[in-house]
Subunit: 310 residues, 4 copies
């Protein structure tokens, strides 16, 4: 179960991987691989799915491809678990278009960042999330990703929007676990705090986080599910041990190194690993990302093997 009823409301919990978007060699959405990936994640025991997030290469997908992803995943999942949808765009009016499409496709919630590209003020960020909440008929989750958005969502802003019911939760990919804790301790009503950091999940759960949205969960959903399960049972030693194994596995994202951007090396590594594990047919990333070369893929293979995944 990914939700727990508290005072009539529902809080999203557990492992909610941001689903990679497999592509064909000519950069179309590979729906067959995508459904295989979804099956792989469900078989791993994840609690919900998050499509069209940063790890899904949402920034690279034209609207038509976004819709293919949405329809493919919601159709294939058929309500077994909630499917959240990223509605990533520069400002409110553009985000609202994605919200409409996502809700029509059956998304159980939408995930939105603060405005980006524009020079934005906290007042405008508040308006932005309130307008999204007004328009969406599903819960709205804030996506805190300063490395992309160049704005940090402060704990006070998140708590204000939580208190008024505009936000149902936050995916915190800021890496600022002090801020995460402020939100956890400051919330007055059910409000899902989900860490987006692959390597501090045990500690985030320890602080009271409700779940995790790990890009690396594409590669090893079983690992994150074991981690969350151990924590939920209070077996923190087992959680830490699993987390440490995943920390070592996470080195795959650094293999690409300085000859490419961070998106290329991170997303390329996830896809290379999924390809090596036989889940997807082609490891291609969207353009203009730099592809990993054979040596780099071989290094990723060794790290997978070391983690017991090959």
């Amino acid at each position: 179960m990914t939700t727990s009823d508290i005072a009539g409301s529902a809080t999203l919990t557990g492992v909610i991987p941001p689903v990679c978007t497999p592509l064909t060699p000519d950069h179309q959405v590979d729906t067959a691989s995508l459904t295989r990936l979804v099956d792989h994640l469900l078989a791993g025991g994840v609690d919900a799915l998050f499509v069209l997030g940063s790890s899904s290469e949402v920034a690279y997908l034209p609207d038509a491809q976004r819709k293919v992803v949405l329809d493919t995943v919601t159709g294939h999942v058929g309500g077994q678990v909630p499917v959240l949808a990223g509605v990533i765009d520069m400002t409110t009016p553009r985000v609202l278009e994605h919200v409409r499409v996502a809700v029509e496709a059956g998304a159980a919630g939408v995930v939105a960042t603060a405005p980006f590209y524009t020079r934005t003020h906290p007042t405008e960020i508040r308006t932005h999330f309130r307008m999204i909440a007004d328009a969406a008929e599903v819960p709205v989750y804030a996506y805190d990703l300063p490395v992309s958005v160049h704005t940090k969502l402060s704990a006070s802003l998140l708590l204000e929007l939580a208190d008024e019911g505009a936000l149902a939760g936050v995916k915190d990919s800021s890496g600022d676990d002090g801020g995460l804790r402020q939100v956890i301790m400051g919330r007055k009503a059910p409000f899902s705090v989900l860490t987006g950091s692959e390597v501090t999940v045990d500690s985030a759960l320890w602080m009271g986080a409700d779940g995790v949205v790990p890009g690396l969960g594409n590669v090893d959903p079983h690992g994150y599910v074991r981690l969350f399960g151990s924590a939920a049972r209070g077996d923190w030693e087992a959680a830490r041990k699993e987390q440490e194994r995943l920390v070592r596995l996470f080195e795959i994202i650094q293999v690409g190194g300085a000859r490419m951007g961070g998106s290329s090396s991170g997303l390329g590594a996830f896809k290379a690993a999924l390809h090596l594990r036989g889940v997807i047919d082609c490891p291609a990333t969207a353009l203009p990302q730099v592809p990993l070369n054979d040596d780099e893929v071989a290094q990723i293979g060794m790290l997978l093997a070391a983690a017991g995944l090959l």
Copy 2:
């Protein structure tokens, strides 16, 4: 004339305002006001128009509204001057969609930033512009806007892309006139260097820039046309005098101050001024921008009056 034939090629020159997008009170594109604004600019003697740039609130316009703007302006202009179109989006595949629409609508050129939101490498930026150039059937201009894109396009990258013919020019809104000069002095073939800085036009032209893309040119196209004309005639004293008048007028963008974001105060000021001057029907800016209040609009009125524009 906005283009000059050099060895069979054409370089875009002169005053090319980024056309504001007038909105109705309920935030639809106000096409009647938009065509009046275009007439106002053409009457001012501008050399080309740039629609769907940052000053056009492109970041706030859903694709359907972008298309209304494109069709309205290219239709109304009817070839009197070139119409450039911004193709602003996060990455290459999304930008290419906008390129297709812009070219179909009759844009004479497209203007693209580096990828944003993603963590990008110069190699990827190069691929990005090359792919746009391959797909577009019109000249491609790079848009250097670090305040939005969080990447500065280096002179060496621009010159490399210029030399191989991928880029026809650059709109430099970085505020780095040293870098602008490097590009001007480093170009080997016709390559339009256009400054996007409203307040250093005389000096950019002095360095050899070909033209200017001034947001403030919406408010006072005649002023920028006089400035450019004076410079073209070599009457630099007159150019400076005109520029200094425009620098004082440019204070309108600071009226909104710290209670709103920079986009709100800047774009709000342009629209308030156009409304006060009777060009557009409604000064509304797109959401979630904070609107200027009556006091602020009154201050803008006084600055307009001081500049001889009311």
Copy 3:
């Protein structure tokens, strides 16, 4: 005991507060208050002291005042616990001067940031720490404080310097607990990993950190000592409970708000609290920091009372 012998080496562990520098109303070092503060910390059970760190207002202290602090504290402590000294300055040659003074004054270790003000390369950062290690006759700790230094010390750089023996540990005030964990898991020999984050101490210790350098530890050393002790005994529930109390207390640093810089509100809050608790005679912060006003001090008093400290 603050050190544990592992294979002949010693690792610094436990609670090591960065000692505030009490000032007189005319901004001289108040040595009487400083020794009282040291006694307060020792009575709290701390394992070592760190003078001349950021929380000590080192950036505001001329060299003569720095020396007064060093001599006062090392003299008063008389070897009861190790005293580490910050050697904070722009580049290696200036840092080396501070190293010499600190070692002469009896510091048990020195704490240095990467170069700042200059535009620095990882190669230069490596040289910097190697030169400090060569010159110091005491262990050298890296101080990772990107908010001040505008460089993040990567895990790989820290581990390389650890492996070659140049660094004995790191004080990580980056807030990046994922990076902290990489260092913890990557170290091959004794290497003290100390978190500088006041609000994630239990989780950092859980990951394997050796200790904490909490500015808030000036105000409530007993709390951090209880926290560390609980963790050391494996009573993580008690550690978390103590941590959460300290998280709420930490709100004192936000009382100053937006009318002053972060240094003023943070350091001003620590000193106001120490003054309210009767430890120091005067809450003055060094110039040009903005002092807290009476209302703000009253709010800090209420937060202290809520934490059981008044």
Copy 4:
């Protein structure tokens, strides 16, 4: 003449190079080379000298070396031209120490940045400059260098401090010539606006700047003096031609490239050029900067030859 009396006040004008600090191979100040460098600059016709600026490697010089530089230069110059002194340090109390030393050594003015390393508020920056002005018995110049200080001095802050007499001028090394122009146009009383950008001097003077503080002026003082002289005579074509030659020469700072920090490649290039031109005995830069290698020095030699300087 470097100053012009206007209503009893004096405005600093002309070419004011930031004097490099020659070092011996073992990194002591090479006073013989320093006086030769001063003679080289005076022979070039410069109007004043600026010691202990960023180009002087001030960030790398311990206080004793700073004093050697000050005494050597003021002693050697003997009042022929004004000598300004950088008083670069983290905060007001530390800066005030440098002010005292500089004034005692005979500096005709002091040059201070905003506080750095600390998290600073505009209110604190105002206090900082006011306190410096109160303490100094000589004119105070603000040094706007966001790349080092990580704060941009706004035009409104500078003008406020100018109006109240706290600042006598600004050295603007921000690269933001729009902001420079705002200061030029906004000043109500004599206030020296000096550009620190080597490559936009003609245009800054065109806008009304009073002078230039060019690091590259160490290498080619005659060039900058000719440039300024041409502009002063109103021969802007000659000024531009000279500027363009200097832009090409300025490529020397990029020779070091990505294998070192920007300080190393820039300051290393100036010193390599001074060594090749026979002005200083040793091109060593302070540690931990990366030295240029033979190939890089050879490239610098070719650029010097192309500029007619070898």
